[in-house]
């Protein structure tokens, strides 16, 4: 029996080895992989909105211009490549009373007079109420770079305000007005392909995340770890963008469960219900409102996951330090003295206590587990009297609560390394 068991364990090992990337999903734990994953995605859904909000805002005016879905702001590298260099920055968190002149003043005060400032006004209320952000175009890419470096710094002259900056995804060269005619041009190619990465250690940096993916998928070009807007603490998930769709799909398959900073990461599709990043998009600007065919498919790891061997909860039966036996079915004539005569030769007894009636039993505790096991083996079903009473033994506990686990040696490490924890894909 034992031998079979071991062989079988061997089988597990082999299987694990040769499956390779295919079932990296296994490390998700058997119990509720799908659910766990979904939770993560739900969790992802919520921050996404905040994350995307500037872009949505950006889209809004673009729609207003009847522009095609422009290159995502993720794709600044492409846009750099395509448009020499970006000189335009997005600037958010504007005070309500600011207008173009005010923003220009701010930048001039910082020593970087912008070439052009465009505040995005509420539709129909231009000059009166803006949408809280604007675009600032600098003369050179270097200036824009320097300006971006100031992100997070306090705005001089406006207490409590901080610079909130990012690259304007549209790229200064094109400009919102410039791509008005570029409907659909190169939309698919310019778009990045992102995956969601969950279960990150708080210590994981964007560089480390990117490096991990680049080891295997060279087209990984950007990684982002999402942080809490208020506290700045990492929220345990992020996104990795790929240049090639094939790599994105491979990442979904192969990076599942790769270990980063000692924790297995989860990889999921970044396309939420409102997501557009994996959509190949294309077509006219109307596509933003038109129902798009969703290429969402369940990642393969959700179809099957190997179960993980788990330690059962510690009870008087599973506690391997438990040296307490319970003898049941004792005849009335069997008392502590009689039990002692039966049990004492097999090891040092620490306790013999009769159960309170009407239970016809007794607790017998040995000093050592070994003795208890021996007693259980040799005395099980030992006849006690002429009326057919036999000793019936099982593991017991001296107290109702399992105090034995406190005094017993610590439990050993699990017999099996949890399956699939060495990511061959990484």
């Amino acid at each position: 029996m034992d031998r079979n068991y071991n062989t079988q364990r061997g089988t597990y090992g082999t299987q694990r080895g040769s499956y390779g990337a295919r079932d990296n999903a296994s490390r998700q734990g058997y119990n509720a992989p799908r659910q766990g994953y979904n939770n993560a995605r739900q969790g992802y859904g919520a921050p996404r909105q905040g994350y995307n909000s500037p872009r949505q805002g950006y889209n809004t005016p673009r729609q207003g211009y009847s522009a095609a879905p422009g290159p995502s702001r993720y794709s600044n590298r492409e846009s750099e490549a395509n448009t020499n260099a970006s000189t335009e920055l997005y600037m958010g968190d504007l005070a309500p009373e600011w207008d173009e002149a005010a923003v220009r003043g701010v930048w001039s005060g910082l020593g970087l007079p912008p070439r052009r400032v465009k505040v995005v006004w509420q539709p129909g209320r231009a000059g009166a109420q803006h949408q809280g952000y604007c675009f600032v175009e600098f003369s050179t890419a270097a200036e824009a770079e320097r300006a971006l470096g100031m992100a997070g710094q306090p705005v001089p002259g406006h207490e409590g305000k901080r610079l909130r900056l990012n690259w304007a995804a549209g790229g200064g060269a094109n400009g919102p007005t410039a791509n008005g005619s570029g409907a659909g041009s190169g939309a698919g190619g310019a778009r990045g392909f992102s995956v969601f990465v969950g279960d990150l250690q708080p210590s994981v940096t964007e560089e480390a995340l990117l490096a991990l993916f680049q080891q295997r998928l060279p087209s990984a070009e950007h990684a982002r770890v999402v942080r809490d807007q208020q506290t700045g603490a990492p929220r345990g998930f992020g996104f990795v963008r790929f240049a090639a769709e094939a790599d994105q799909q491979r990442a979904l398959r192969e990076m599942q469960g790769a270990v980063l900073d000692g924790r297995a990461i989860k990889v999921g599709s970044a396309s939420g219900s409102s997501g557009t990043t994996t959509s190949s998009g294309g077509g006219s600007g109307n596509s933003a409102t038109a129902p798009r065919p969703r290429r969402h498919r369940a990642p393969r790891h959700q179809l099957f996951a190997l179960p993980q061997q788990q330690q059962p909860p510690v009870t008087h039966y599973t506690d391997r330090g438990n040296a307490t036996l319970y003898a049941a079915g004792l005849p009335a004539a069997t008392g502590p003295r009689e039990l002692e005569e039966l049990f004492a030769p097999l090891g040092e007894l620490t306790l013999v206590r009769m159960a309170s009636p009407p239970a016809q039993g007794a607790v017998v505790q040995y000093l050592s587990r070994r003795a208890a096991e021996r007693a259980l083996r040799t005395l099980q079903a030992y006849p006690l009297d002429a009326e057919g009473h036999c000793l019936r033994l099982s593991w017991g506990s001296a107290t109702q609560s399992a105090t034995t686990s406190v005094t017993s040696p610590p439990l050993p490490a699990p017999l099996y390394a949890p399956l699939g924890l060495s990511p061959r894909g990484a």
Binding site: A328, L346, A359
Partner: protein, 645 residues
């Protein structure tokens, strides 16, 4: 009707069905009564009260029911004086004055040291039956003896004096008595006494009284520090505060040490302490020891008191208190034979009674055996005793008679025809019969020296099921065969240990160790060859049930069921045992039946046997079972679940 019968009665038996239906609270309360819980008792008695409010003139059936309930309660706990009072009132309502007086009289007998009961009784008696002077005087004398020295007995003395004054009886002797007793209200009686003496102008007496008063005052002053600390002087079912028995013990120790002459006082304090502390073994022991220490040789009256006290203790104390009972039995055994015939008879009588009680309440084998051994020892001394001056013929006939008596008792028990007349027959049960048999064999073998008969007895009794687990019997058998050096039989006996004779591991080990030594010392190599080696390895080998006394005994130590080839035998005997899931799985569910399986032909892709065809899909089976819990009988949890606590 004996106490046992009263307790076994079902009070609801005679009731009408309609009545039972109409009073579910009362019926349920009685059916589910927990005699150890005072609130449960109170509830039942309260429902009885309610019942009597609904039926102010109950019929006879209800009356009987109520009476039975009260009797059951008071038989169990005679010290609950509140219930006695209530019962008296109810009896008065049911049957009138005479019955209530009778109840009060019962109360003073069942709870003789209760001031309340005595006062109630005397009050009713003197008020309603003032002409029964003889009875009243008798009862007053009895009351004086029982509670006169009680520290708070002034209501009783007041009653007595009042009665005497009313009926023109001289109170001076009574006062003379009272002023010597350390009472809580001692000053009052001294004042009254002096007043009476003054009116009668007995100046000399007054002086005497003054002196007595001084002494008494000193005594009261001495005991007051103890009396004042006592908190609970009544009986209750709730656990006694721990400090109370200690306070009583200190008080008693002080009295015994410093006032050894105040016997009445000490006895009264003992009796009072045993009202709240009636389940405290140490106080009973102290009381018994003190009473024993009073005894002058040949004083039958004192001896009777000791014996009665011991018996009372044995009956009142919880069954688990062994020390008091064992020491009492020991005392009886020791006393017997050193006194006059009358005393000896008395002791023998109490000894028998105590043994009968004890055998009933102590179920454990070790206790049964000890008690039976004690009983037989005493039996031999009382009924079949012999002394130095008897002729050897007489002695032998006594011993033969004793053996015959034992034999007939055993036969009666085994043949299931105990007629109840034989004293011993009443005591024998399946646990202690081995002791009687061993005694019989001992007599036959060692006293009467009848080896042939002994062997016959062994042959006859060894088939008896009761003796399969008796250490005494088989140790005797082993000794007997050892004395004859019958190694064939001894070898067989050793082999049977743990397979058809089931002794405790400890005894098995001792026998095995002893036998190994004995065999090595007393057997010869040729004997070993012929009886053991040839049987096991020779041409006519009989592998089963032959035990090698040198090697086998070592294997068998600590493992009483070990036998040569036992593993094989077991499998033959129980064909099915290894088929059970519990055995096969051994705590790993599904390991043999639903083992997890994974197939994946692609693993073989680099091997030659992998043909160049599309590999089958991987398959998985029963993987989820690795986290199932094992199946086993957990007697511990089962037992806890069945236990209501």
């Amino acid at each position: 009707m004996s106490n046992r019968d009263i307790l076994a009665q079902d009070a609801l038996v005679g009731l009408d069905n309609s009545f039972i239906k109409e009073n579910p609270v009362f019926v349920e309360g009685y059916r589910n009564i927990d005699w150890k819980d005072i609130t449960s008792l109170n509830n039942v008695l309260k429902s009885v009260d309610d019942l009597l409010k609904i039926y102010p003139t109950p019929n006879n059936k209800i009356k009987t029911t109520v009476e039975i309930i009260f009797r059951q309660t008071l038989t169990r706990y005679p010290l609950l004086f509140g219930y006695w009072k209530k019962f008296t009132a109810i009896e008065y309502q049911f049957h009138g004055l005479e019955a209530s007086l009778k109840t009060l009289e019962d109360a003073t007998e069942a709870f003789p040291h209760s001031i309340d009961m005595w006062c109630d009784y005397l009050r009713v008696l003197t008020l309603n039956f003032p002409k029964e002077t003889d009875l009243i005087n008798k009862k007053i004398a009895k009351g004086k003896e029982l509670i006169g020295w009680h520290f708070y007995s002034h209501p009783f003395w007041d009653l007595v004096i009042e009665y005497y004054t009313k009926n023109g009886i001289d109170v001076i002797p009574t006062y003379n008595e009272v002023v010597r007793i350390p009472l809580h209200q001692y000053a009052k009686y001294i004042g009254e006494y002096k007043k009476i003496l003054k009116t009668k102008k007995l100046a000399a007496e007054i002086k005497k009284v003054d002196q007595l008063a001084k002494q008494n005052q000193a005594l009261v002053g001495a005991i007051w520090p103890y009396e004042s600390t006592l908190r609970q002087t009544y009986f209750n079912l709730t656990p006694l505060p721990e400090a109370e028995p200690q306070k009583w013990t200190k008080y008693l120790q002080y009295l015994i040490k410093n006032k050894p002459n105040k016997r009445e006082l000490i006895e009264s304090v003992f009796e009072r302490s045993l009202i709240p502390c009636c389940y405290i073994e140490s106080i009973w022991k102290m009381y018994l020891n003190w009473t024993k220490s009073l005894k002058k040789p040949q004083d039958v009256e004192l001896l009777t008191r000791v014996l009665k006290l011991g018996q009372r203790g044995c009956r009142v104390l919880p069954d688990s208190d062994r020390d008091f009972r064992l020491s009492y039995l020991h005392y009886l055994e020791n006393e017997y034979g050193h006194l006059e015939k009358e005393s000896d008879l008395l002791i023998a009588k109490y000894f028998d009674q105590c043994i009968q009680d004890v055998i009933k309440i102590w179920a454990y084998k070790s206790d049964q055996i000890i008690v039976m051994q004690k009983y037989l020892r005493m039996l031999k001394r009382t009924k079949y005793g012999s002394s130095v001056d008897m002729s050897s013929k007489d002695v032998l006939s006594k011993q033969t008679e004793y053996s015959k008596y034992l034999k007939s008792s055993i036969d009666d028990f085994i043949g299931n025809k105990s007629d109840g007349n034989v004293e011993l027959g009443k005591l024998i049960n399946t646990t202690n019969i081995a002791v009687v048999i061993v005694e019989l064999i001992k007599m036959t073998w060692l006293v009467l020296k009848n080896v042939l008969q002994t062997r016959k007895y062994f042959n006859a009794f060894s088939k008896n099921e009761f003796l399969k687990t008796s250490v005494e019997f088989w140790t005797m058998y082993y000794d007997f065969e050892k004395s004859t050096k019958n190694f064939v039989k001894l070898n067989r006996f050793i082999a049977e240990l743990g397979t058809s004779i089931f002794l405790p591991t400890d005894s098995v080990n001792k026998i095995l160790k002893d036998y190994r030594e004995f065999y090595l010392l007393n057997s010869t190599i040729s004997q070993y060859r012929s009886t053991v080696v040839d049987e096991i390895e020779g041409p006519n080998k009989k592998t089963a049930s032959i035990m090698d006394p040198v090697i086998g005994t070592l294997f068998k130590a600590d493992n009483p069921r070990w036998a040569p080839g036992s593993a094989k035998q077991r499998r033959v005997n129980k064909v099915e045992w290894y088929k059970g899931a519990q055995y096969r799985e051994n705590g790993h569910p599904g390991i043999s039946t639903d083992r997890p399986q994974i197939t994946n032909t692609i693993i073989e892709r680099t091997s030659k046997s992998f043909r160049n065809v599309a590999p089958g899909l991987p398959t998985f089976r029963n993987l989820e079972k690795i986290n199932q819990t094992g199946s086993y009988r957990d007697y511990y949890t089962e037992s806890l679940k069945s236990d209501p606590k």
